[in-house]
């Protein structure tokens, strides 16, 4: 769905820190939302923790920099990083161009999907949250 100026795909789960999570069995793909990339604007550097790192839900898993700002990326899930999108080191702008596609950040083997999902927002809830931020 599209809310205000922001794309919010239906099949994903969202955090209030503006990360998305796509879950298939126990494997999750993680990224930042369209809202996040539009707020950051002109992303020039992305750094994600290494493959194999254990990460915890809502804790820092990396950093994203725009020309003028530095922001933490918070993991929407608890588990182990199985893959990092290495293309972002040469093309950080993919986060702006395609946040739900080529701009994905990492794949994570999720320890307890049910537990993590309970703390995330559905597309409808995230849409309401975005609207409340823009008011």
């Amino acid at each position: 769905m599209r809310v205000l100026d922001y794309e919010i795909p239906d099949k994903l789960y969202y955090s209030k820190e503006h990360e998305w999570l796509h879950l298939e069995n126990k494997e999750a793909v993680i990224g930042i939302t369209d809202y996040a990339q539009k707020q950051l604007h002109e992303i020039v550097y992305v750094e994600i923790q290494k493959k194999g790192t254990e990460i915890k839900q809502l804790q820092t898993m990396g950093t994203v920099e725009s020309v003028k700002s530095v922001s933490d990326i918070f993991s929407p899930a608890t588990g182990k990083i199985t893959q990092v999108n290495t293309e972002l080191s040469d093309r950080p702008e993919l986060l702006n161009q395609d946040p739900y596609g080529k701009g994905w950040l990492a794949k994570v083997e999720v320890a307890d999907p049910t537990k993590d999902l309970a703390k995330l927002l559905t597309p409808q809830q995230y849409a309401e949250y975005i609207k409340s931020l823009e008011e």
């Binding site: 604007h41 002109e42 950093t63 920099e65 020309v67 530095v70």
Partner: protein, 352 residues
């Protein structure tokens, strides 16, 4: 003035490659008059005001008694005994008070003109061509740091060939335009945008203003200079004329020079791909902390991290490799001279 219109990167590149326009009406401006105006300005600033002739401008600093920088500013002489000065927005009240306080003893009049004059900067290699279409004077006759009166969009306008980007360009003062009646300023802004359309002009925000001035090696007050740094430490000794008989801060600066300047402002260019340097990060060399950054960003032109830093003088050597501690990791950087870009290809000295 927004942080950006289209984006910091395209706006930045528009100024380096073509032309950009900034609305900088928020800056502080004052008109100083009186038979002792020159003596007064010479007393409160570090550069030599007597070197100014009518319709010329100079960059200078204003110091406290300890030689710490109260502000950096541009002074233009409008006519003998009449000067126009532009200083930082954040220091508007402080500067005005300081000027007033010191003018009283020297019988000079300081009039805050900040809200009476609109101010734009038109910067970039196509700035002259843009403005030439809408002014009634020959701009090729105005050299850098020279000024002129003209009519722009039918309005009395003061032009100064100065700027905060490192590029050729003008600062454009739409005279007699109070904030409460901005129509003339709006008309002028639109006329400039229209004139610059064929040169791909972009309206530019604060973000590009900051990245442009950093590449050019120009200080941002509050970041790179403040009342605890002296112009000698800030590598601004070219605007400190210690031969002047008196000026506020002279004694302290003379002493600092004699004792040796302990730290210097330098430029840094990151050598490896990695996180970008930001203000207030440590600078290291051979396991020793030698200083800290005061500004840092991603450079849209050089496409790498760049910074300004203060390091101890013995380490302030161009070409040396140091490290900046970014998020607890040491990132290699080279000490480079200002401007950070190649001055034969970019900036007002570029080869045409």
């Amino acid at each position: 003035m927004p942080l950006w219109y289209k984006g910091i990167i395209p706006e930045h590149l528009a100024v380096r490659n073509n032309v950009g326009i900034f609305d900088i009406t928020h800056m502080g401006r004052a008109i100083i008059t009186g038979p002792h105006a020159q003596a007064f300005l010479n007393n409160v600033t570090t550069n030599d005001v007597s070197a100014l002739t009518p319709l010329s401008a100079q960059y200078t600093t204003m110091c406290n008694q300890n030689g710490g920088i109260k502000d950096d500013l541009i002074i233009s002489q409008l006519e003998p005994n009449k000067y126009f000065t532009v200083y930082n927005a954040a220091n508007r009240q402080k500067d005005h008070n300081w000027l007033q306080q010191n003018a009283a003893t020297l019988n000079a009049k300081v009039e805050d003109a900040s809200d009476q004059i609109a101010m734009f900067a038109v910067q970039g290699p196509k700035a002259e061509a843009t403005l030439q279409k809408i002014v009634d004077i020959d701009l090729t006759k105005i050299e850098r740091f020279k000024c002129a009166w003209t009519k722009l969009a039918n309005t009395k306008t003061f032009l100064s060939r100065t700027g905060y980007t490192g590029e050729d360009g003008f600062e454009v003062f739409i005279w007699d335009t109070p904030l409460t009646k901005p129509e003339k300023a709006t008309t002028a802004w639109n006329s400039i945008l229209e004139a610059g359309e064929e040169f791909k002009i972009e309206p530019c925000g604060l973000g590009a203003r900051d990245t442009l001035r950093l590449e050019a090696g120009m200080c941002l007050y509050g970041n790179d200079i403040d009342e605890t740094t002296t112009p000698l430490e800030a590598s601004l000794s070219f605007v400190v004329k210690l031969k002047k008989e008196i000026f506020i801060g002279k004694e302290a600066l003379v002493k600092q020079k004699a004792d040796g300047i302990k730290r210097k402002r330098i430029g840094l260019r990151m050598l490896e791909k990695g996180p970008n340097p930001r203000p207030k990060q440590e600078v290291w060399r051979d396991n020793n902390k030698i200083g800290y950054t005061t500004s840092g960003t991603f450079s849209p032109l050089l496409e790498c991290g760049v910074a300004m830093a203060y390091v101890s003088t013995e380490h302030a050597i161009e070409g040396e490799t140091v490290s900046v501690k970014v998020r607890n990791r040491l990132q290699k950087a080279e000490i480079v001279k200002f401007p950070l870009y190649n001055p034969t290809r970019y900036g007002y000295m570029r080869e045409k």
